[in-house]
């Protein structure tokens, strides 16, 4: 099986999606969230469940005064190793797939 790596440095390969997702996350005692597993609707209406294999980076920002945490994560999706970004919007408690 061929494994494709989408390196972070080649962020252009990732498409901006900003699609809301259903998330199971793990929060530490200090309140640090980490994504664990999420379910995303696909264009054909079916759902795909993705287990977050690795969280590589987390970055906080507050554009427009709206705090968000962006996680760079890695998983096997459809048999391929994929790098993608998910976002957690603190005020609404919503999770999004930002880029994939």
């Amino acid at each position: 099986m061929k494994v494709y790596y989408y390196n972070r440095n080649y962020g252009d390969f990732m498409k901006v999606l900003m699609k809301p997702i259903e998330m199971i996350a793990w929060f530490t005692q200090d309140g640090l969230p980490t994504p664990v597993r999420f379910r995303m609707e696909q264009p054909n209406g079916s759902y795909i469940v993705i287990k977050v294999a690795r969280t590589i980076a987390r970055q906080e920002e507050k554009l427009a005064g709206n705090p968000m945490i962006t996680f760079t994560c890695q998983s096997i999706v459809h048999g391929m190793e994929r790098l993608y970004e998910i976002r957690y919007e603190l005020k609404t408690c919503k999770w999004y797939v930002y880029k994939i």
């Binding site: 901006v16 999606l17 900003m18 920002e61 507050k62 554009l63 427009a64 005064g65 709206n66 968000m68 999004y96 930002y98």
Partner: protein, 417 residues
């Protein structure tokens, strides 16, 4: 502190509503930056709030004015992108701006939702040269919050405010007293703070067209002619102003007004609209723990003629029911039967609410107070729409009207605070 070594910054968000919307959209995955195309924030034309609230810089060649109707703006610029307003977002952005600025100085005055004064006097010990610091603040806001600001640097609030208005966007300008002649005096007189439309036309008639011409006029003649306002604008034209940064600005009055989704043609509908506005005004009064001493109402009819009427209350109050009763009396005295598109309710001469005169003739104030307290508590916990008067059912009117706020000191702010 001597005025000599005061350093004041005026931070002004460039096309605030539009920039905030653009930053929010980019954060939520939009690929197009509204600031790079002709775009505007506009009200909803179907509920007759269709005016331009803010516009992007690329609309400049089309000469679209803030406040003009969406219809005429679209005639001038057919490819104009119009987005709806989002007042909670603006409040959130404004708060984020203030909390970032608080890192630089303890002395900050929020002048309006998108304008802040910051006292930088003696702060150079911590942050270095004022101009450098202003650039740093500007760049941090751009990077962290995603919108651009203009910063005016000077030795008083007026000059700082004039300076931030020079060239936009994303700039730092200075206007120190020795620069007034070169930078401020050539400007048209209507650019000066406190010179509005009425004063401008008066000044034009006397041949005063620039701020410089006003500044070299005889202050005595101006005082005789325009009374105290004449002296004030003469002082401002000469850059003379030394008001302190007010961190806690006393609220002098507060009010709400709204354009109705349809013309109110009968007394009952108008009263209901007044009730809706009074609900909001009275709740805000109770929130800041003040009684209204004077209540005024304003109406605007179908032909855009405005009228207003006010009364000093025998017993100051913040009770919704009592204020509503007075608003209705004022309305009945004022209204001539014409269809109305816009109504407003305003409270002023505010008093503390912990002492009040009991009255033999005005019913049981304590009971009203208990009712208002209970309603406020329910609304605070379960939202403003959790409790409403049944007269608003199927009326087409919102039970609490007045989203954007008219207030003297905090233009367009506090109903969201």
């Amino acid at each position: 502190m001597g005025t000599k070594n005061r350093i004041i910054f005026h931070i002004d968000v460039n096309s605030a509503y539009l920039s905030w919307e653009a930053a929010y959209r980019l954060q939520h995955g939009a690929t197009l930056d509204l600031r790079t195309i002709p775009s505007a924030v506009g009200g909803d034309a179907t509920t007759r709030h269709g005016i331009i609230l803010a516009k992007s810089i690329p609309t400049k060649p089309y000469k679209i004015q803030t406040g003009e109707s969406l219809y005429s703006a679209r005639l001038k610029c057919p490819n104009l992108t119009v987005v709806p307003p989002r007042y909670h977002l603006y409040m959130q952005c404004s708060k984020a701006l203030v909390s970032l600025l608080e890192e630089f100085s303890p002395s900050i005055q929020r002048f309006s939702i998108d304008e802040v004064f910051l006292d930088y006097s003696n702060m150079d010990i911590h942050w270095g040269d004022p101009i450098d610091a202003a650039h740093r603040i500007k760049d941090r806001i751009k990077e962290e919050l995603g919108f651009t600001v203009n910063i005016g640097v000077s030795s008083n609030k007026l000059l700082a405010k004039m300076a931030s208005d020079f060239e936009k966007p994303d700039r730092v300008h200075t206007l120190f007293p020795h620069e007034i002649q070169g930078k401020m005096w050539p400007l048209p007189v209507e650019e000066l703070f406190m010179v509005g439309r009425a004063t401008t036309s008066k000044l034009h008639k006397k041949g005063i067209f620039t701020i410089g011409q006003l500044a070299i006029s005889d202050p005595e003649l101006l005082t005789q002619w325009l009374k105290s306002h004449g002296r004030l604008i003469w002082q401002l034209a000469n850059g003379l102003e030394d008001s302190p940064i007010r961190e806690d600005y006393p609220v002098k009055g507060l009010g709400n007004s709204a354009t109705l989704p349809f013309d109110a043609e009968d007394r009952e509908t108008s009263h209901r609209a007044l009730l809706s506005l009074t609900e909001t005004v009275a709740m805000r009064l109770r929130d800041i723990r003040k009684f209204a001493g004077v209540l005024s109402i304003s109406i605007k009819d179908r032909d855009f003629q405005s009228y207003s009427h006010q009364r000093k209350l025998e017993v100051p109050t913040h009770s919704t029911n009592i204020l509503y009763g007075i608003a209705c009396e004022l309305f009945d005295e004022l209204w001539q039967g014409q269809p109305l598109r816009h109504l407003g309710v305003r409270a002023s001469q505010l008093h503390r609410d912990d002492l009040y005169q009991l009255s033999f003739f005005k019913g049981d104030i304590e009971r009203q107070k208990a009712l208002d307290t209970a309603v406020d508590k329910i609304r605070a916990q379960y939202g403003c729409d959790s409790v409403m008067r049944s007269s608003f059912l199927y009326s087409g009117l919102s039970p609490m009207m007045g989203g954007v706020i008219q207030e003297e000191e905090y233009p367009m702010m506090s109903s969201l605070l």
